[in-house]
Amino acid sequence: MMRRKLSLAAAVVTATAISLTACSGGEAPAADLSTVSIMAPFLEAQPPSADGAVQKKLEELTGKDINITWTPNASYEDKTNITLASSEIPHIMVIQGKTPGFVKNAEAGAFWDLTDKLDDYPNLKTTFPDIQQNASINGKVYGVFRGRAPMRAAVMFRQDWLDKLGLEAPKTTEDLYKVAKAFTEQDPDGNGQDDTWGITIPKWGALGTNSPYDLIEEWYGAGNRWTEKDGKLIPSFETEEFLEANRFVKKMVDEKLINPDFATFDGTKWNEPFFNGKGGIIVDVDSRVSVLVNLFKQADPNNYENKVGFVGNLEGPDGELHAHPTDGYSGFLAVPKASVRTEAELAKVLEVLNTMNGKDVAILLNNGIEGVNFTLEDGKAATIKPETEESKAVSTDIKSYAQLGMNVAGNTFYPVKQPTEYEQQVFDKRTEVMAGDLKSAVYNPAAPYVSATYVSKGAQLDNIVADARIKYLAGQIDEQGLKDAITLWNTSGGDKVKEEINQLWQDNK
């Protein structure tokens, strides 16, 4: 009896406590929008300071108090999901891609549908409608995409090794094999020891993430994530070319032309074997070329030229160039409905985004402040030397503020003038090679489409094939095992994904 009454008392206390906590959640105050809050990732060691020169200039140019919540990039995805579940939702959120969490929230109505709205704003009207389409969810645009150069794939190699062995820069995948073999077996560093290998690949297994494996598969003609065959879309790993490409990579692994710890090697140390003269080739984005050049320059400013050579995409065994482009965007800036309630408020927020996409803010976010950290020389932004405390702060801050840049009508800011003649040459050559490769780009035909099954199961499904690919390359399973994994992908829900993607593709043709 006593026990029952006690538990009743406990229940009352509990109920009161629950209603108390429920109340404290409260309603967010209506937005007056003199302050615009933004959530954005930062990739530097420290977020920019809230009262720095860039911040002040941004507020001056937009005429608003801008309140940016900088969130570490490594946990950005988690934080996005958690923020959406909280009551503190910003007016503008940088969303890094069409992740399952974002798609579910968007389809439940968490974000404004901007499909018919963006064209009303001069700076938000894109000159790349295909990329905007890629960034949409089945044709619905939920944000202003952040434009990125679509062509970035490159093969970089130790130019000094290549010269020493008297080899040509690779043009085809077969050449890549020959160079890698020579780098491994012909003692390119001339120390008389068998201590070098060809290609360095880090722990990077996931499918469709522009990994070295993805690039080589595309060069072989497997397509970009999805490919059209007999009037239907199939995942690129169901093509014969996918298997051929992986046989090719496996051959290189077996002959020790690739670092043996490719399944576990830490990606943040990717440059080290290249720089230290262990592994002579990296297959990645072309911007790494300049990073590598800079590494050599810092080690020896008098002798760093002709250490790093590079080419763009490689021709496949069919003699054709299937260049690998990205989807052309890196996420988008979306407007949550929970914080921006009415059409009128939305118009104000879009106005701010419009200003942020204008030339003035684009220059601020990407180049910095003219006269403080850069000056104009022949239409290029040249960093002011020597750096002062003030200019350094601006240069550091813009590395984070660039995350807010959208550039939906191409880059309106100034190209950066490279510090030396040689680096300018490298930069210009990069631009030229990438522009050339773009003409042979093979795009992902399914990029705009989001299948419901893929949203709920995609990551697990893709893991089946991604892990099998690495296991096959490492020799844990044979080719039949890889094929079995692809069958398992289909039977675990992949065939449904295919069906849905094809349906969406047909409907939108």
Partner: protein, 324 residues
């Protein structure tokens, strides 16, 4: 609910009054009598109600299709859909197997080692040596798993890690410990032993200090050697502590440690590395499937409760005092 009983008894003595008559309708009388003692209980009850029980209403999303934008109350109910999906998932047997194997390895190897280390420390007669060793073995506990994982990656690095070279020379093999699925579990248990064995000895050392010294003297006179003394005096002396620690350890058994395993996982060893904790993170946080991962977490908690009650009952059956 053991605490109020004790309070009542001590209250009776302190107030020096006859026990309250226990008959129907006597609660009001009983309550009036001990109202100050009940008042003492209030902060504890409120704490548990607000910080432990109220958040549990969030568990309801395990039975809903939760979308953050719609909120906990706005999301539609789906019944036990997520549980059905989970149990019929082809990953389920593998996850359960991996979790249980790791749990039993930790319990079967790391737990007894803690006792062994405590006994060894207890046998050290030189006080300064004993204290120094004690401090040294506590240190790894304060390093984060990230550092432990980094150390492992350095020590076992392919082709140049010192332990990689040493072990492969001794065994005459060429094993990449970091990616070989057969070596994943030994590596995890090894890390666990390295990091937490020393710290775990604290409670056993405290228990060892309470063992009656006279018994040792008597045993020495009777001609008992060191091992005899450990076996017949020390171990029985700390038996109840061991049982309590065991019950607690079993309750925590399925918490295989998210960070440690997440950091050591790669494409080649994932088949043995996936456990409930990493799966909940992978599906719930990175894929945004909150409801599904809450269901998985809830299942894990239920298994934990069953284990803890089961072990407690078992301990009582074997005439040991249980935890509660």
């Amino acid at each position: 609910m053991a605490a109020p009983v004790i309070d009542t008894q001590s209250g009776e003595q302190a107030l020096n009054t006859p026990p309250a008559p226990r008959k129907r309708g006597s609660f009001a009388v009983h309550f009036a009598h001990y109202k100050w003692l009940y008042l003492l209980l209030v902060p504890g009850v409120v704490y548990f109600a607000v910080f432990r029980y109220a958040p549990m209403y969030g568990v309801s999303i395990a039975f809903k299709d939760y979308v953050p934008f719609l909120g906990v109350n706005g999301s539609p109910w789906v019944g036990t859909q997520h549980f059905q999906d989970f149990f019929s998932n082809p990953d389920f047997p593998r996850l359960l197997g991996n979790t249980l194997i790791l749990a039993f390895l930790n319990l079967g190897i790391a737990f007894p080692l803690t006792i062994v280390l405590a006994l060894l420390l207890n046998e050290v007669r030189l006080s300064i040596l004993k204290r120094t060793v004690q401090t040294l073995v506590y240190i790894p506990h304060f390093l984060s798993w990230t550092i432990v994982a980094s150390l492992s990656f350095l020590l076992f690095a392919l082709d140049f890690g010192p332990l990689f070279l040493f072990l492969n020379n001794v065994m005459g093999t060429n094993i990449d410990f970091l990616s070989d699925p057969n070596w994943f579990r030994p590596l995890i248990v090894l890390q666990e032993i390295w990091k937490n064995t020393g710290w775990g000895t604290i409670i056993f050392l405290a228990a060892l200090a309470t063992v009656d010294q006279d018994q040792y003297e008597a045993a020495i006179i009777d001609g008992a050697g060191r091992f005899r003394r450990v076996w017949h005096i020390t171990l029985p002396g700390i038996r109840s502590t061991i049982i309590v620690m065991l019950i607690l350890a079993i309750g925590q058994m399925l918490n295989t440690g998210f960070e440690q395993i997440y950091l050591m996982t790669n494409a080649l060893n994932r088949s043995v590395a996936d456990v409930f904790d990493t799966y909940v993170y992978f599906v719930g946080i990175t894929q945004g499937a909150y409801s599904y991962s809450t269901a998985v977490g809830l299942f894990k908690s239920l298994v934990g409760i069953v284990l803890i009650f089961g072990t407690n009952a078992l301990a009582k059956r074997f005439n040991q005092s249980g935890l509660f």
